[in-house]
Structure formats: structure tokens, C-alpha cells
């Protein structure tokens, strides 16, 4: 954005000495009311005279350099190292619902491994008629499905259980992405191996694990395995990114991201859950009395205002303001999102950009006027089961503060008269 209230462009020197910096952004809204002609219009600009890049310059493109801030970021103090760690999707800067793969968050337990399709093998074993081995090419010959789903880390917002910690929607809510997956239903692959040997399927499980050193093994009940789980090899139209499981990952709609096993190498039909490290030591939720919930698979209804937010302050001054954000539920489609500007005292129902889809991100907008007043911005999602996103106090009443995972509380941003926003808790 340029500061067009100046008759002449601010020079680089002026900018670097700070003379123009105070005006940058704050008065941009005045462009249409300028008393003097805008040189961006009255003077022929270089892009309107010379030429741009040729079609051979960028066989596979990256975002324009002015968007370099829209990127994954990590928080060093959260984990012991960056190999078994997390980074965050820049949801504060995105719109719509589809997450660009290149800035979609990562969570690894032994790093992002590199595997060629030629080296890929998928095994199905255990209580099946015929244990099978598939190559990548085999998988592409099965009937295919396309579905859009969110993948939310069970620990998303987990740092906020005991208070307001991290100052930005990217950090508080960015362990999430939403992609269109192409792949084969897990049911199709299990049926190819034959489920007769499993007998009564209701009591059976599948144990899924990755090819990486951590393996990330998880147990999934057969009912879910035969319902909507996908073995996916494309996301948002192209191959999975290395860091998202190339060449094949599991997609487990509505369920915690840990179960979306990447670099999927084995599916075992078992007569009991394995009770692996990732479903005992981790991804179990300790309550105030010291007992812990296990198998908390579904991600409950949740939402967050992505703008304004701490990383996306209001810079345009008073007048029309777009309040926007994301809502999602692992139990079904979002049917409504309410927004409050006064910390939950009064609510307005926001506009959904499109009808909610099951277990997928939903974009909401509240088109409003802002006149410099302080706001305590909140959003509250409702899904088709009638579940209403709770406050943090309501969650703590049931769970205490040590659950680590599954924090789907209502988020509050304190928008100040200067347009800046801060992560806060309110009574």
C-alpha cells in the first residue's frame, strides 16, 4: 500500500529515516479524497510502459515477494528441538477456506522424510483374508474420491489453556489446514485384502503407521475405518508436499490431526487397540482429578476471528470494516457463526461465505462499521448437531487446565482505539 497523501512518493531515504513511516498505512483511506492528483494515476508507471516477465521465467511459482510474511512460523520454546515439533499456518493473512500447501502447517515427530514413489510400499496385514503389498502405481488404479477436510492438530490452542499466551491467530489457532484430497477410500483397500477373517467387524480395529522413524502408530475403530477415511495421494490438485506425507497419507475426517498418519506404510486389522505411545503418553487428556480421557478422537466445533487480530490490525481508520474468520467442526457441518464485539454480552449472526461442509473449514464475514471504539471481538460456532462452541471458563469447569489437547474455546481479541489487537481473556 502506498501513502498517496503525499504529492510525491516518499523517497527511500525518507522512509529509512522514519519521516514517512508514521504515515504509511494510517491515512491510506484518504486516497479517494486527495486534494492533489495521485501520481500513481497521473504519471505513467514502469509496469504500464515496459514489460513484465516471460512465461518461461517461473515454471513453478512462489507468491510475489510482497507477500513474504504469509508463511509458516515456529515458536522455539514450545519443543526441545525442531525435528519433533510444530509450525503454524498464517491463517491471519488467508481468506476463503483452502489452505495453500506451501504455508500449511507441519507437525513431525522425526522430521519430514523424503521418499520416492518408486520406493513407496503400503502393506495391509493382520485379520484379513490375504495380506497385501501395494505399490504407489497400484493405488492410482483404485476408484478415486475427492473430498475437502480440515486437519487440526489435537494441540491447536493448547498453549492457551492456562491463560492468554501467544499474540496472534497464527500462533493460537494455526495448527490447522484445509485441503481438497484425492485418493482411495480405506474401505476399498481393506475389501481388496478381504475382511472375512475379521469376523464381527464391530469389535475390530485398524492400526495405521507411517514409514518414518517415529511411525506415529494409531488405532482406529473399524466403524470409522469403513466410513469415511481416505488414503490420499493428492492435495489441492497436486501431489502431497513432502512435509505433508508424500507420496501417501491418511485422511481421517473430523478427527485429531495426529491420526492423519503421513508416509503411510502399513494398515493392520487387529482385534484390540494397540495402545501405542501416541494414544497413551500423548493424545490423552488429563482432567483436574488426575484421571485422563483417552480416544478423544473428534475435534469439536470451533472458530476464530482471523481479521482483525493481533497480526492483522485495523490500519484503515474509521468506517467500513470486514470482520472475518474461520469455523469448523469434526462432528459435522457448521450451521451458524455468531460474532460479539463486546466480549460476549451481545451477539450478531455472521454471514457464511458458503454453506458449511462436513468436517471442513467454513469462512464467515461480518460487514460492519468501526468508529475507533474498543472492541472485545469473539466468534462462536454452532454445528449441525446443535453443539455450541464453549467459553474457556466452561471448558475449564469440566476439564481443569491440564488437558493440553482439544481446546476449542471462544477466543477474544481486544481491539484498541488505534486499531491494534491483543490476545486476552475476559470474565
Amino acid at each position: 500500500m502506498s501513502d498517496s497523501s503525499n504529492a510525491k512518493s516518499p523517497s527511500r531515504r525518507q522512509f529509512l529515516t522514519g519521516a514517512a513511516a508514521a504515515g504509511a498505512g494510517a491515512v491510506a483511506a484518504g486516497a479517494a479524497r486527495g486534494a492533489t492528483a495521485d501520481p500513481l494515476i497521473t504519471e505513467v508507471q514502469s509496469w504500464a510502459s515496459g514489460t513484465g516477465e516471460g512465461v518461461d521465467a517461473t515454471p513453478y511459482g512462489m507468491p510475489i515477494r510482497f507477500e513474504t510474511d504469509v508463511r509458516r512460523r515456529n515458536v522455539e520454546w514450545l519443543t526441545a528441538d525442531t525435528i519433533s515439533s510444530i509450525n503454524f499456518t498464517p491463517i491471519h493473512a488467508l481468506d476463503g477456506t483452502i489452505t495453500p500447501q506451501g504455508c500449511a502447517f507441519e507437525r513431525h515427530h522425526s522430521g519430514a522424510i523424503e521418499m520416492r514413489k518408486q520406493d513407496y510400499r503400503l502393506m495391509i496385514n493382520g485379520l484379513v483374508d490375504t495380506p497385501l503389498v501395494f505399490t504407489y502405481e497400484d493405488l492410482e488404479r483404485f476408484p478415486r474420491e475427492n473430498r475437502v477436510y480440515f486437519c487440526e492438530c489435537a494441540a491447536n490452542t493448547g498453549m492457551e489453556w492456562a491463560g492468554a499466551q501467544l499474540n496472534g491467530a497464527q500462533f493460537t489457532h494455526g495448527m490447522i489446514h484445509n485441503m481438497e484430497y484425492s485418493g482411495v477410500s480405506l474401505r476399498t483397500l481393506l475389501e481388496e485384502a478381504g475382511l472375512d477373517a475379521a469376523g464381527d467387524l464391530k469389535d475390530k480395529w485398524v492400526y495405521v503407521e507411517g514409514a518414518d522413524a517415529s511411525s506415529n502408530g494409531r488405532s482406529i475403530p473399524m466403524e470409522k475405518a469403513l466410513d469415511d477415511v481416505l488414503v490420499a495421494f493428492k492435495a489441492n490438485g497436486e501431489a502431497l508436499r513432502k512435509e505433508h506425507g508424500y507420496p501417501v497419507r491418511l485422511v481421517v475426517p473430523g478427527w485429531e490431526g495426529n491420526m492423519w498418519v503421513k508416509w503411510l506404510r502399513r494398515i493392520e486389522v487387529t482385534d484390540q487397540p494397540v495402545q501405542s505411545r501416541e494414544e497413551t503418553s500423548k493424545y490423552t487428556d488429563t482432567l483436574a482429578n488426575g484421571t485422563s480421557r483417552k480416544w478423544t478422537w473428534a475435534m469439536d466445533a470451533k472458530s476464530v476471528v482471523t481479521s482483525p487480530s493481533p497480526q492483522a490490525p485495523i490500519k484503515h481508520g474509521n468506517g467500513p470494516l470486514v470482520i472475518t474468520g474461520l469455523a469448523w467442526s469434526g462432528r459435522g457441518a457448521i450451521k451458524r457463526v455468531d460474532v460479539s464485539k463486546d466480549g460476549g454480552t451481545t451477539w450478531e449472526t455472521a454471514r457464511l461465505a458458503a454453506p458449511g461442509e462436513k468436517m471442513a473449514l467454513t469462512r464467515f464475514y461480518l460487514d460492519t462499521e468501526w468508529n475507533g471504539e474498543e472492541m472485545l471481538l469473539q466468534s462462536r460456532a454452532m454445528d449441525e448437531t446443535g453443539y455450541v462452541q464453549p467459553t474457556k471458563a466452561e471448558l475449564r469447569d469440566v476439564r481443569g487446565e491440564n488437558s493440553i489437547y482439544h481446546n476449542n474455546c471462544i477466543q477474544t481479541w481486544w481491539v484498541k482505539p488505534n486499531g491494534e489487537a491483543e490476545n486476552v481473556e475476559v470474565s
Binding site: M1, S9, P10, F15, A24, S46, R65, F66, T68, D69, R73, V75, A80, I83, M123, I124, N125, P131, V133, F134, D138, F142, G163, A164, Q165, L166, N167, E191, A213, S214, S215, R266, Q272, P273, V274, S281, T286, N289, G290, T291, S292, R293, K294, D300, D338, T345, T346, L376, R380, G386, V388, E394, V398, E401, N402, N423, V424, E425, V426, S427
Partner: protein, 208 residues
């Protein structure tokens, strides 16, 4: 069972040695455990060589790396210490995870006897066995894990049934609203990066 779909004939049968190479998981009832054994004493030496640099000589943890021992009786505290001894419900998980995924950065290098020994040492570090204990496939299920009954199956649909509401409050929902906590006070968010500053400079400067 469900109606069987017609098979496409894709893939090929897995060979027994292939299944054996990848099917390593061990379940709480001992399914999957290989033959073998290892003592606390052997485990102490192995732990010193392969594990202690991150997990400490006594499995107490170094820096931010996981603590494997300690924390007994802390699960209801303000800051619980969740370790193999204080938290993990099944010994099978320890065997399975160490065998398949540890040491970090050099996984799948431990032989079954070595894993039995290291698991025995972790038990000893948690004061759950004596220093002359030998863990084997035969006595594996005799070990009592202190928190084996500490888990309940997801009960949100009953314990949190009140989150399912016909119609939430829309007006006059609170009498007062006070800010009770601010992230800026903690100030632990990463500083704005160089890239951000470069971008702001580009935004503010015309490309003349």
C-alpha cells in the same frame, strides 16, 4: 459383515518375512512381544550409551527433553509430571515405542534383548522393580503399571452434554466484562522477523 465388494486384483500377497519386518507393534496383552530378556544392570549400561545424553543418567531428562522417570502422584497437581512411571498405563507401549522409534535419530537399531534391558532400567528408574530385576517375555505381564486404571474412554458427549444447546444467548448475556489476562504481559510470541520488516519497507516505498 458388510457386503463384499468385487476385488480389483490389485497389489500382491505380502510374504511372511515382509510382514515380520514391518509388523512390530506390541499390544497390552503382550501380543507381538518377541522372545528375549534383559536385566536392569544391562539396561543401565545401554541407557548410558544410547539414551542418557537426552534423557539423563537416571531417566530424569536433560533440558527440555522428555523425563522418563519421576512424577509419581502428581497427576492432579497444578503442574503434573507425566512419565512412564507416573502416567503410562501399559508396559507394552514402552517396549514397542523404544524398539521402533528410539534412540531419536537412530531408531530401529536396538535388538530385542537390548530393548528388554532398557525397559527394565526405565522401570528401575521409576522405583517399580529392584536393581536385580530381569525383564523377559515370560514375566512381562507381571509388571504393575501404577496408572493402569487412570484412563477413561472419551466421555464428552455425556460430561459436556450441556454444550449442546437449542439456542445460545444473543443479548444481555453478561452484566460486566473485564479483561482478566493479556498475552502482551507474558510477551513470549516470537519477535517480528526480518522478513516482516523487509515487507513493510516494500509496502511503504513506491517502486519508482
Amino acid at each position: 459383515g458388510p457386503a463384499l465388494a468385487e476385488k480389483l486384483g490389485l497389489g500382491r500377497p505380502a510374504l511372511p518375512e515382509e510382514v515380520a519386518a514391518w509388523n512390530l507393534d506390541v499390544s497390552p496383552d503382550g501380543t507381538g512381544l518377541p522372545d528375549g530378556s534383559g536385566s536392569v544392570e544391562e539396561g543401565d549400561a545401554l541407557f548410558a550409551d544410547y539414551c542418557a545424553v537426552c534423557h539423563g543418567d537416571f531417566a530424569e531428562g536433560v533440558d527440555n527433553w522428555p523425563k522418563l522417570a519421576g512424577g509419581a502422584g502428581t497427576l492432579a497437581d497444578k503442574d503434573p509430571l507425566k512419565t512412564v512411571g507416573s502416567y503410562w498405563p501399559y508396559l507394552s507401549t514402552t517396549w514397542d515405542y523404544v524398539h521402533r522409534s528410539m534412540p531419536f535419530g537412530n531408531a530401529q537399531t536396538l535388538a530385542p534383548d537390548e530393548v528388554y534391558a532398557i525397559v527394565a532400567y526405565i522401570l528401575y528408574s521409576n522405583d517399580l522393580v529392584e536393581d536385580d530385576f530381569v525383564l523377559s517375555k515370560d514375566n512381562f505381564l507381571d509388571v504393575e503399571m501404577p496408572n493402569k486404571d487412570g484412563f477413561i474412554i472419551d466421555d464428552r458427549e455425556s460430561a459436556e452434554a450441556h454444550f449442546w444447546k437449542d439456542e445460545p444467548c444473543m443479548t444481555d448475556c453478561k452484566e460486566t466484562v473485564e479483561i482478566t489476562m493479556q498475552a502482551a504481559v507474558l510477551d513470549v510470541t516470537p519477535e517480528e522477523t526480518k522478513a516482516r520488516k523487509v515487507q513493510e519497507m516494500m509496502d511503504a516505498t513506491n517502486p519508482a
